[in-house]
Symmetry: C2
């Protein structure tokens, strides 16, 4: 078992990473928050695979637990589903001493975390992420929330879980495409923060492609969580350093919204975003050409839909601007000074650079 | 001008109390959070009295401000109104560097605070409470939230404002009944925490009945905020000491819900709750009869509807139990060992005591 301690002022929490740990959830949760009652929120897909096993694990530890599955998919991050959840939490008799468990990917984590953050002004919750993306990304940082009809993730709050329990063996039932979408966020951590980790990924690439290699995957997930935990600890509310976690996301978000969230998985869009960001870093002479090549070589090995030919730089640029206006941050890019060395910059002529990249390098 | 500093780990804020301070809001808010844009949330009643004046105050300080008034009354603490608010915040271009100002009583404060707590995972807000109850109660502690159809205040979060600005002169336009409902919470602070303050209230009672006595009111509000700030600082998330702030609320809430929120203002229900709690304290031999008499003499001077004859102890007891089940706290009462000395106890036979009080002492 590997442990990453997320240290935050006054309320840190542990991330426990071990194949098979799902069956140990009762004991772990009892130790983390000793709830009088527990409510599992999951989605239909994950619920049918692991719901009963998790309920069993809690009951074996004497924790009164019930489970509710929302429909799988992004549409569950909605008002309607959230309201329905509140009703179920109330009707199940959840008190301030109870606990919510989120069993699933990013959507379930965001939704369940936000329900826990706002039910009775905030109750305890634990996260049991079942996708690679959720394990390496949304399990650290305490971001929770739902979508608004005018934009994604506009409603939410920061609410740290009491415990994150990761069982990498659940990744074996994950769709291949979903797994690879998560891998692009894995590579991101190497790019922004650790050259040795990037080199390790290069050297283990074949093995990492198969989630059945539990030992390797455990190691990989642990490093990602460690890097993210370190960044978040230094900047909990996302005012400075934490922005580097958005490496590849400026163009990534634009690609997602320009294709109406229908073509790319989030990780796939970020993959293209990272390729562009690396390219832009080289063009602006922050990154040496050989480092750029090393990055692009690895990123090109990913299976992912290409950027559609119909999408031009001007269109994507407009999407980037709209997205950023909302956060009041200006069109800031995360660039690289080297592998493992990210920084932020507001570059001149981003639209022109984008057009050039689309023509020459995508 | 009087100042009360609410000290909390990492993020305290000042409460500024001065007649006429409404016109100084721009300068004060600029100093507290320097927003790129500000959005005033108020209700129709308060908005028509003070909305333009406040907008002016912000504009004079160069703060881009807009205002939205929700309907007056408890029904505005709803999903529907909240969703509409989010849409307006988004459409007004509020960013993470913007600020929400709550101008109004408890309903507006709870609603606007919760919108600020959950918009873009939490943005700054300032509170400008315009009722006596909101000034002495909801302005300290950071409680925000809305109602669920299955119960009041079930959805919400803790979100501390950056600044609370109180202008006691706005109380002159408050309905008399509303003013007295607030006064019962004022007396509560003396009862639970300060005999000298209770004695001061007794001695100034005539003057305190007229909100035009700005100096007296300023002093009174300041002491209340100081007491509440001290209690909250010692117990931010309401796990222990803070419960004493619920003095009179166990029966108070039951009276409100048993009469379907139609007969009593919150403060009026709490008034009866405090009379019962004082009586119970005496019956259980914690409080001396002469102290009880002194308390009851002051509380009987309040104008308030009496407890209806049709309400019996058993009915009220059921309402108390339902209310408490939700918080998982058991039927705990806040009692007095003396004036200014509150503690909590789970008494035997509360229903019987209640019946006796209803028969003999209400």
């Amino acid at each position: 078992m590997k442990t990453v301690n997320v240290r935050l002022p006054g309320r840190g929490y542990p991330i426990l990473i071990q194949a098979g740990s799902l069956d140990d959830a009762g004991r772990r949760v009892r130790r983390a928050c000793a709830p009088d009652r527990l409510f599992i929120i999951t989605d239909a897909t994950v619920g049918s695979l692991y719901g009963d096993r998790l309920l069993d694990a809690f009951r074996r530890s004497g924790i009164t637990a019930s489970l509710h599955a929302v429909p799988a998919g992004e549409n569950s991050k909605s008002w309607r589903i959230l309201q329905d959840l509140y009703t179920r939490l109330i009707e199940s008799g959840l008190t301030r001493d109870s606990c919510v468990a989120a069993l699933g990917g990013g959507v379930v984590g965001d939704l369940a975390g936000f329900a826990a953050a706002t039910y009775l002004r905030g109750i305890a919750w634990v996260q049991i992420p079942t996708t690679l993306l959720a394990q390496v990304d949304s399990s650290v940082g305490g971001k929770t929330g739902i979508n608004h009809e005018l934009g994604k993730n506009l409603i939410g709050s920061f609410h740290q879980p009491r415990l994150v329990l990761m069982d990498p063996s659940v990744l074996t039932t994950l769709e291949k495409r979903e797994y690879w979408a998560g891998m692009s966020e894995v590579v991101k951590y190497g790019l922004i923060r650790s050259e040795p980790f990037f080199a390790w990924l290069e050297s283990k690439w074949e093995g990492l492609g198969d989630p059945a290699n539990a030992g390797l995957i455990e190691q990989m997930v642990t490093v990602c969580c460690r890097i993210k935990a370190d960044v978040v600890r230094r900047d909990e509310k996302e005012s400075g350093l934490r922005r580097i976690l958005n490496f590849g996301h400026t163009l990534g978000h634009a690609l997602e919204s320009a294709t109406e969230y229908g073509l790319f998985r989030h990780g796939e869009a970020v993959l293209h975003g990272m390729r562009f960001a690396a390219w832009l870093s080289m063009k602006r002479e922050h990154l040496k050409p050989d480092a750029y090549q090393r990055i692009d070589d690895l990123l090109k090995r990913f299976p992912a839909p290409p950027v559609p030919n119909g999408l031009d730089g001007a269109t994507l640029y407009e999407h980037m601007r709209t997205d950023k206006k909302r956060t009041g941050q200006g069109l800031r890019f995360i660039l690289l000074k080297g592998i493992g060395k990210a920084f932020t910059e507001i570059p001149d002529h981003p639209a022109r650079h984008l057009e050039e990249w689309l023509t020459n390098a995508r």
